[in-house]
């Protein structure tokens, strides 16, 4: 029975990947259905962008107030999903998973998930994780550690797992922040649980644990995914290690790295390379991996990602080196250019362009080229501290921060 489920998982994932790759070749947009997009690499595949943002800004489709959370917006069809919180007094409140109409921003459903996570340092209360949109359910993870599957259509809770109670996970200082990864019929999480339950795969329909592996605490990182020779690799960055598991939970390889506790998730590119970066210590490494192992190719200090994940395009990595937008060679690590003035912003790649969101809510379109920083227009999208990266689908960019969210048509 177990073998059957696993085989089914692999087949459905491959089928899904093939479907989307085929779609990509036909320039059909791929849904931004989970944290950092479908491939978890911050790339809005299958989308195009105009060469410039109009001087008077793009058309704003909607903008609305929202409750505090750092969750990104995920998109599937006519609905978008995110998380938010509402305070009932200064020390308590509630966290919700919410669905909105993509065209209007009107709320479709709002489901209570957990009590609120209060940030002792005042960075912002509420959820940190980004919901993932599966076949039937939306998977959200609260700041206090409850993974919940809710119906995409009406928000009804199908199942819920409390990581603290079930796995002995410890709430990190700034709350649980990792975002669910969807692989076929699995929901994969860094759990940070005791008794070799650092990394757990759940049955997407039932919430039952399919496999649990590894030692490690709850961090602020999220798993990435790669596919080599038809085999899925789930890559976790935890502590100073990279871990790779296949969909069955078998350990494929482990790599000790000089990068300690990265927050930006491992960025897979060229199908068999992974870039990880942290704001302290060494800065970054690029490692090459296959089915059986991984080795460090280069390391450097020209890129030190904090909470914002870099993107890869055509041989180069673009990201925030502390608070400077920077382009480095993915082959040599050499810095190509730097542009300051965006604070600790975030970015995604659409077509051959970067959409950069400054930490003050301004969107800047930048040509993804190593030649020079080339700005292609900008506009103030939202106001105030903005630490949540944008999402993109079907020509529209979705942004949010702790107080508001908005959608702009960039076509």
């Amino acid at each position: 029975m177990k073998k059957k489920i696993i085989t089914s998982c692999i087949l459905s994932f491959l089928l899904l990947m093939q479907t989307f790759i085929a779609s990509s070749q036909q320039s059909e947009p791929i849904p931004w259905n989970q944290f950092k997009g479908f491939y978890r690499n911050g790339v809005a595949s299958g989308n195009t962008l105009a060469e410039k943002i109009p001087e008077n800004g793009p058309k704003m489709l909607w903008k609305k107030k929202t409750g505090s959370a750092f969750s990104e917006i995920t998109i599937m069809g006519n609905q978008i999903y995110t998380m938010l919180s509402e305070k009932t007094d200064s020390v308590s409140g509630l966290e919700f998973a919410v669905a909105f109409d993509a065209k209007t921003g009107n709320e479709i459903w709002k489901t209570l998930i957990d009590s609120i996570f209060i940030d002792v340092d005042g960075w912002g209360d509420g959820p940190r994780s980004t919901p993932a949109i599966g076949q039937d359910f939306v998977y959200s993870f609260s700041g206090r550690g409850k993974l919940t599957a809710t119906s995409k259509t009406d928000g009804k809770i199908a199942w819920q797992v409390d990581f603290v109670k079930e796995f002995g996970s410890t709430i990190p200082r700034w709350g649980f922040a990792n975002s669910p990864l969807l692989i076929g019929d699995l929901v994969v999480m860094e759990a940070g649980g005791s008794e070799n339950r650092a990394f757990i795969a759940f049955d997407a329909k039932t919430g039952k644990v399919v496999w649990a592996k590894g030692k490690g605490n709850s961090t602020y990182n999220s798993p990435s995914v790669a596919n080599i020779d038809g085999e899925t690799q789930i890559i976790f960055a935890n502590g100073i290690y990279l871990y790779s598991f296949n969909a069955q939970g078998d350990t494929l390889w482990t790599l000790k790295t000089p990068i300690g506790n990265p927050t930006a998730l491992p960025l897979v590119f060229d199908s068999n390379k992974v870039f990880i970066s942290a704001i302290r210590n060494t800065g970054f490494i690029v490692a090459e991996f296959n089915k059986n192992g991984a080795k460090e190719l280069i390391n450097g200090t020209a890129m030190k990602n904090d909470y914002s994940t870099s993107v890869y395009y055509d041989g180069y990595i673009y990201g925030f080196n502390v608070a400077a937008l920077t382009c480095i060679s993915a082959t040599t690590g050499e810095k190509k250019w730097t542009k300051r003035g965006f604070g600790k912003g975030s970015l995604i790649l659409v077509d051959d362009k970067l959409l950069v969101l400054s930490d003050q809510g301004k969107i800047i379109q930048v040509k993804a080229t190593p030649d020079a920083y080339t700005e292609q227009g900008s506009f103030q999208a939202i106001e105030g501290k903005s630490w949540t990266a944008p999402s993109f689908s079907d020509g529209k960019v979705y942004v949010r921060n702790l107080t508001e969210m908005a959608c702009f048509d960039l076509n």
Binding site: K304, V322, A323, A324, W337, T338, R340, G341, K344
Partner: protein, 395 residues
């Protein structure tokens, strides 16, 4: 062969003259740099600057102001995220109230912070009168940083700290500075970037200053600059802890009458002496008193406030017996009372059945009474022992 000879010649020349070559170049660069900042005569007339604007820390943009003076004093009120921070520096020493460090009251700056405040207090560039300030400059060559051609100048300051300044080769204005900064009072390397130069009253000043150190990113965006604003010197005086202000009635020079409690249940005057009580720091009120009670005693009494357990802590040093005693207590009603019943000098809770109490009551403008009591049952019952009546000396 001829080329080789000329190379050798140039090499020999370079061996003998490089210092003067570079010194000359450094001086030229600095002269151009100072000129680029506007009229030097006007700079020399500036006694102080008040800067207002926005300061961004942790991506939160908040109001900011600072006042800096020619003498190197600096005072600022700003926000770091949710916390309001105050910084003050008199040119040599200073203090800060920074709740991020879990210290809610003023604390003195350490030496690494003093170096940072010297940087903060600069009007615009460290190369202004740098020789008079005891600094040395070495030109280390041209570089390209982030696409910007720059002159690199190594600045060794009088305090021994080294900074590297990168000046734009076209404008001679500063582009970047590498210096030592602090994060949680610990030295860390910092990079500071300067931009948005504007002319104010003929003076050229960067209105955008971004500094990154460790994982921090701080941005100062200047909105307004006022010149020759008087800095209220009182702002630079390190404030006492609020709780220590409650002990202010004790500060001064006192006549002290000494009495002991007799077996007959009456007070008996044994003598008189003097006492001086003064704040020696913002969290330390110190009393020195000499008196005779059979033997001659010389005691020093330190009053402090301990935030960890929200109590006053008093230490009494007796030179005759060479002993310290520690008391803890607080104000209750109109008296200040402290005892040593719960004080333990070993691990674990004290089981001190025999203990002493200091009680200060009858507090008036020119007098107060300190009573010492004993207990043999852990503080349940107190027996009077000694009484010290303080009367303020009239100057």
């Amino acid at each position: 062969m001829k080329t080789r000879k000329s190379h050798i010649f140039i090499f020999i020349i370079a061996l003998f003259f490089p210092a003067s070559f570079f010194a000359q170049t450094a001086d030229e660069i600095i002269a151009n740099h100072l000129a680029a900042h506007g009229d030097l005569k006007k700079w020399k007339q500036i006694e102080s600057m008040k800067i207002t604007g926005k300061f961004t820390a942790f991506s939160e943009q908040k109001d900011f102001f600072c006042i800096k003076t020619k003498s190197g004093a600096y005072y600022s009120e700003l926000f770091l995220g949710k916390n309001a921070v105050i910084e003050a520096f008199n040119g040599k020493t200073g203090w800060t109230i920074d709740p991020w460090q879990d210290i809610l009251y003023a604390r003195r700056l350490n030496s690494a912070e003093e170096n940072v405040f010297q940087q903060k207090a600069l009007f615009f560039t460290p190369f202004f009168d740098y020789k008079e300030k005891g600094a040395k400059v070495e030109y280390t060559g041209k570089q390209n940083i982030d696409g910007e051609d720059v002159f690199a100048l190594k600045l060794t300051k009088a305090n021994g700290k080294i900074e590297t300044w990168y000046l734009n080769t076209s404008t001679y204005l500063e582009f970047k500075c590498e210096s030592e900064w602090v994060d949680f009072a610990t030295p860390v390397p910092a990079q500071t970037f300067f931009d948005d130069f504007r002319t104010v009253n003929g003076l050229v000043i960067p209105f955008f200053i971004e500094r990154t150190f460790w994982q921090r990113d701080r941005i100062l965006q200047i909105e307004n600059i006022e010149f020759n604003i008087k800095l209220d010197e009182k702002l630079l005086v390190m404030p006492r802890k609020e709780q220590m202000n409650k002990l202010e009635f004790m500060q001064g020079d006192w006549n002290v009458d000494l009495e002991v409690f007799t077996r007959r249940g009456t007070w008996y005057k044994t003598g008189a002496t003097n006492s001086d009580i003064n704040y020696v720091s913002t969290n330390l009120l110190q009393e020195n008193i000499n008196y005779e009670n059979y033997f001659a005693y010389s005691k020093r009494v330190d009053y402090t406030y301990n935030d960890a357990d929200n109590k006053y802590r008093i230490s009494v040093f007796d030179d005759l017996s060479s002993t310290f005693e520690i008391f803890e207590g607080n104000f209750t009603d109109s008296c200040f009372t402290a005892d040593n019943c719960d004080i333990s000098y070993t691990a674990g809770k004290a089981e001190n059945k025999s203990c002493t109490q200091l009680s200060i009551c009858n507090i008036e403008k020119g007098s107060f009474i300190l009573e010492i009591k004993s207990s043999n049952d852990g503080g349940k019952n107190w027996n009077p022992r000694e009484k010290y009546t303080y009367t303020r000396k009239i100057k």
